[in-house]
């Protein structure tokens, strides 16, 4: 029997029954996509094609088409990589950490958030892959495979190699976790297809559901698998951004060489990830009429996480400055003064405004329960988090120890093109997911329908 505290808000509104859940969610998969969907998909594919052209030019000519120079050897590519990986973190936080904490409000948002994780990690991976130059051998050389040079093995002491393992493990485990959640829901669509007499759909969704039957024994094993996957994913997601931050923190560049990087990066990742979840879900909710499943209460709870993680990020920015002053290392002090007042001051102050000030507006209940305000702030936060990575990477590099080599970074159309490529990839993948897969975890929502929708206010 489900017991819900009386102080909790209703998670499923509109007096839905178990049957309504199947009906409302499966309808999206079974019906024809709306004109709005086609429009959004069209725009995403155009972005994808333009980006693919830029990507092709990059592969044909090499990394020289980017705006990198001898001083700024890492810029948009790694900025975008860290930004996308960070966005992915919210999906795992919602599905794994909130499962361990038994937070029921995760249930109607975890599916879309996990899908977002997977697509975001694919987008992220495209940047280091492109930066390796020769796409057809780079990924092979980064694995410990026997080779004709000795064998000369990969360097397991390097954080960049740890990143290869972290990102690929994170991607595959998240994919498995997401897919396991989908299995019972595919069976719902299969059985509905059988009842409607649509044999092709029944066959496809039966294969996707691995012939799910829903027996009590299978559910028992399934729940156990879900719990352990959550237990494995929780340290995994923390390790991924920790290792990403070590790409910087283990180096000796002023502004990078700090021990607060791992927690600071993880908080930032969750912060930007929740912002992206909100951006996506507010649109999905509107387009697919899911107002009864993704309620204002869900939005409010996510906004509270944004205040918490946003404030952690704000404290981290201030701590960095304090430690730079307190540590009395001239190079370190210069790096931070240069960030705030040097030629990239506009990037630094964009970051501060978007990340530190804008989420504080959510302290007002009126603002955090207002969908338009939430949507706007969620986009501002994403812009701010992009600037955070840009500030950390480019401003730390562009003035190194030798003033004669100081320089600026100017992105070329190919830098911008590959960023647009990932946007096209991300949104077309997400739209395809929203069309062909149930966007809300039906089995989990059904298990709370009785407990939440019977409750009277």
């Amino acid at each position: 029997m489900q017991v819900t505290s009386s102080i909790r808000e209703t998670l499923v509104t509109g007096g839905k029954t178990v049957r309504d859940v199947s009906e409302d969610i499966s309808k999206q998969v079974e019906g024809k996509p709306s004109n709005l969907w086609w429009m959004a998909f069209g725009i995403s594919v155009v972005l994808l094609l333009y980006g693919a052209y830029c990507f092709w030019i990059l592969l044909w000519n090499g990394v020289g088409v980017w705006g990198l120079n001898k001083t700024v050897g890492w810029a948009w590519d790694i900025t975008n990589f860290v930004w996308w990986v960070g966005i992915g973190h919210a999906g795992t936080l919602i599905s794994a950490i909130l499962l361990l904490f038994r937070q029921r409000w995760r249930m109607s948002i975890n599916r879309a958030a996990e899908a977002m994780t997977i697509f975001a990690v694919i987008c992220a991976a495209s940047f280091p892959l492109a930066h390796m130059g020769r796409l057809w051998i780079g990924p092979v050389w980064s694995l410990p495979l026997p080779n004709a040079f000795g064998s000369l093995w990969v360097n397991f002491n390097s954080p960049l190699l740890w990143d290869v393992f972290a990102i690929s493990t994170y991607f595959s485990v998240s994919l498995v976790f997401w897919y396991m959640g989908l299995v019972p829901d595919f069976a719902v669509i299969r059985d509905r297809a059988v009842r409607m007499g649509n044999n092709t759909r029944a066959l496809i969704y039966n294969a996707l559901s691995f012939g799910w039957s829903g027996g009590a024994k299978t559910w028992m094993r399934y729940e156990s698998v879900a719990l352990i996957l959550a237990g494995l994913s929780t340290p995994l997601v923390l390790s991924v951004h920790t290792i990403v931050s070590m790409d910087f923190a283990t180096s000796v560049i002023p502004g990078w060489h700090t021990t607060i990087f791992p927690p600071y990066f993880v908080a930032g990742a969750i912060f930007s990830g929740f912002a992206m979840v909100l951006t996506l879900l507010l649109v999905t909710r509107k387009v697919f009429h899911l107002e009864d499943y993704i309620t204002i209460y869900h939005v409010e709870l996510m906004n509270i996480i944004i205040i918490v993680t946003g404030s952690i990020v704000g404290i981290a920015y201030i701590t960095e400055f304090f430690i730079a002053w307190y540590g009395q290392v001239p190079a370190e002090q210069y790096a931070f003064i240069n960030r705030a007042t040097g030629p990239y001051w506009w990037a630094y102050w964009s970051m501060m405004t978007c990340n530190v000030i804008s989420p504080q507006l959510f302290w007002f209940k009126k603002i955090r329960t207002n969908l338009v305000a939430t949507f706007i702030i969620s986009i501002i936060v994403n812009i701010g988090m992009w600037f955070e990575r840009f500030v950390i990477i480019v401003t730390s590099l562009h003035r190194d120890y030798v003033p004669s080599s100081w320089s600026m970074f100017h992105p070329t159309m190919y830098d911008i093109g590959q960023y647009l490529f990932t946007f096209g990839l991300f949104f077309s993948a997400f739209l395809l997911f929203a069309k062909f897969f149930p966007v809300i975890n039906m089995a989990e929502v059904k298990s709370i329908v009785k407990a939440t929708s019977e409750k009277k206010h």
Binding site: M1, N155, W162, T169, A207, E223, S224
Partner: protein
Amino acid sequence: MLRPPLKRNINMDSNKHFICGVYDDEDVLLSAVEKVRDKGVRIQEVYSPFPVHGLDEALGYRRTRLPIAAFMFGITGTILALFTQTWMLGYDWPMDIGGKNYASLPPFIPVTFEFTVLLSAFGMVGTFFIVSNMKPYGWPRTFDLRSTDDKHIMAIDLADNKLSKDELGRILKDSGATEVNDKNF
């Protein structure tokens, strides 16, 4: 109502007869399972659209050993990763990187951890699919198509029980079933 398009998994010769109780509510179902089992009836399986907590205990199932499988796969990953890194950098081709030790434990931890998680997750999920006899081809034995929608189906194999069909039907009805259906495979 249409038949499932694929019948590969259904053994047509066995000619099995089942009686199925249909339940609308998970709490009624839980008490029904206990009532039916108290009468000495052997339940084949209960099919639900969502996990019902306590159902496995009510049915008397043993706890799953999948966590043990996950642990074994995980520890295999740990050992494999530690051995591989130590052997590659410490023995097979030692490299002097900034004068550091050829093989030391701390830098090997991240990869070891990731590999542990990877093997544990994939091993456990693979084991789950194998022990649950789930595969992308072949159709499951469907007692009632509504069991993935909103109904809980309690299936009883007539060959497993001494009681007659009518008596079993009455027990199911008394326990709170909204419908009692025959199902033959």
